[in-house]
Symmetry: none
Subunit: 228 residues, 4 copies
DNA sequence: TATGAATGAGAGTTCATTCAT
DNA sequence: AATGAATGAACTCTCATTCAT
């Protein structure tokens, strides 16, 4: 019962690689459309393979979901790194957020992770680098330039990003042009210095490790509320 | 097999009325704690009645969820009406939002409706009055007083309210004091006039009818994305 | 998710009681014929009910198996108690063993417990009283009367009984008259004093608690070999 | 699709022969440790080859099990032949039984065949020679020397041997020193002449062909109980 | 010939919903 | 009207066996 290899960079036979990618693609489609509650049977059917084949490639539904989410998060990280290279700090931050939110738009699977706390433990680890790396960099630069209020931190984006992503998943999308950009602009406006301090404080780096999200569904039923 | 009555205002026998309320109360507890995925059996047990009794009072799980959500939304409406009576428009808006978000905090069932699009059609109808009534009133007053930017509308809150409610349900809650208030303050800051117009436009009243949310789970599998 | 009641002596509705008994009877038939690997579906079909009905009465396959095994073991205990009332100690012991082995004859489900270690923990508890109670009583009486060798103990029967039961489950049964009685007689002959001490020693009472059997299949995969 | 050869004594290419033996060795390890329920995948992995390779050498799991059991039984036969050369008949018999039981101790795969009736038909044929050859020889010698009761036959050991082997697989093993030897001694004591005839009669040679065991599991579901 | 991959047919379990008392 | 009981349709995951390279 060895764990069936998942992300190990072994060379796969041509057809297997094809099926693996088909499965991830199908997962992308199905999870994105129906959320992470979608059944593996559905995904396998979508990929044109048998469920058992899915289980050859991924130890369980969970792992397939990760593979799919990983692909998407990798793209988000690339975006963050690119944005960090933009000169104007506010523009860089805005660019990253726009791109990231675009990526998440109407993707229910991603949404389930960001918002509904699917696989929170794993997600935290993915998020950590993004937040404490390029994002904080952008924030600090903006604060030094005086265009971002001094009382926010990169860690606030562990809340703001999921929060904004929920916008892209609303029905409004279908009707209103660029809703994400609109509400992002509103939040960015709120990030400008205005002399009035925000209540509360940002999450600390340590809190990020346990605090990103706690709602659990599907496999992760009712994790006891984390203590601080 | 008569069609089982649902919410028709028939006179119920005393014990029947009692059971009905017990069920709603149990739904409140259970749905709030475990989200709308909770089983009817659980709720019935919590209410001290049998599942079949639940089906005598409510056509299906769905309807029971509505009854529970209704109660909560009614409270939100009351809050909005009360806030409309506050003199300072910004303070009134802030008060309503704070109270409403408080109400939603850690209420997974409500969250499932607001964010996950459970029973979207019905939810829209509930939201309509709230948005176009007291909330728009607060917004307009604020704009006349010059404390709210002119390019937002009450309908923007059909997006902002769910968006902010997602904050209250994050793990951060457990660790950071008053996270909801913090990010609400950020958004409120963004709502102040700053000379820079927001991109896009608010949803129209008509769009509200179809646009609030479209994600479907559980019973409501895959409603085709609404067209505009 | 309360554990669905199993053996609680609640009054069941007539039909439920009937179905419950049908299920146990079907379990008896099917488990006896095919062993404890038989599927719940098979048993339910045999009982003329849906599988889910089986799950209403028993938390899982395991519990149904226990209910069935319990019934059989109860009969064995009754036999032991009756045998303890026989005057001649050897005759009493022989009577009990004969009856018990008869009971077990060709019952694969029982065999799986006795021999294959299904649900060993639970079985130990059932066995304990039988061994240290009436069986030891019979043995001691026999030793005092000088008809049983002094170097055996009641606890030896925790080995001998399963061992002999394996005889009744062999194909020989179908062809040879009274095979169980034959090999039981052989063992009983060996139990008479002969001046030559047996090698080793009987299990202690404490060892009985962990020592009855350790083979695990089905649910009980690979329990680490118990340490002493 | 030619019928895949199984145990035909064709000359195999060197590497094929090597793989075949590797598979049998792996089967030995795995089946002995986990019983005949072990999966072919496990065994193949243990052998360092692919499952499909196993299917090139053996028609099915069944056949691989046979190959493994064959090897073990061959050793038992060798033991019997060696024991037949011991002068003292009782000592010879005891030596064989001890060695054979040692061989079976804690070998779950063998146990599944001896006790659980896996592949009974085939097993009978293997047993036949052993019983009617060296074992009967030992018994007859003992009877002529007056140290074995006259009313047993070699065929009784088709029952006694499996019966005793069940002892070695009990948890007692882990705690009690030499349990097999202990209960074997008890049975041997019973085999000594004591003037009291055993009830019943030994299986006849013919009965041996159908009578050894009839329990079937796994692939061999429910062979109808053989008639005599 | 040997392999990695693929598959169909379950098995155990759960849950919204309906039936019978 | 209320209950206890029953059900069918899923869903996740496993395994002996076959296919394609």
């Amino acid at each position: 019962m060895e764990p069936r290899a998942a992300a190990e960079p072994r060379r796969l036979r041509a057809d297997a690689a094809r099926n693996r990618q088909r499965l991830i693609d199908a997962a992308e489609e199905v999870f994105a459309a129906r959320g992470l509650d979608a059944t593996l049977d559905d995904i396998a059917r979508h990929a044109g393979v048998n469920v058992a084949t899915a289980y050859r490639h991924f130890a369980n539904k969970h792992e397939l979901a990760r593979a799919y989410l990983q692909e998407t998060l990798d793209r988000a990280v690339a975006m963050a790194e690119e944005a960090a290279r933009v000169d104007d700090p506010m523009a860089g931050l805005a660019q990253f957020l726009e791109q990231a939110l675009e990526l998440m738009a109407a993707n229910r699977g991603l949404f389930d992770m960001l918002i509904n706390g699917y696989d929170a433990e794993w997600f935290k680890d993915q998020m950590q680098g993004l937040i404490t790396g390029p994002i904080r960099h952008l924030v600090v630069r903006g604060q030094q330039a005086g265009v971002i209020r001094p009382d926010v931190d990169g860690t606030d984006f562990a809340v703001l990003l999921p929060m904004l992503s929920s916008v892209s998943d609303r029905g409004v999308v279908a009707c209103v042009p660029e809703p994400t950009r609109r509400y992002l602009a509103l939040v960015l406006a709120g990030l400008r210095p205005d002399g009035t301090p925000l209540p509360g404080r940002p999450p600390t780096d340590a809190e990020l490790r346990t605090a990103v999200t706690h709602k659990a569904r599907g496999q992760h039923r009712d994790p006891p509320p984390e203590q601080c």
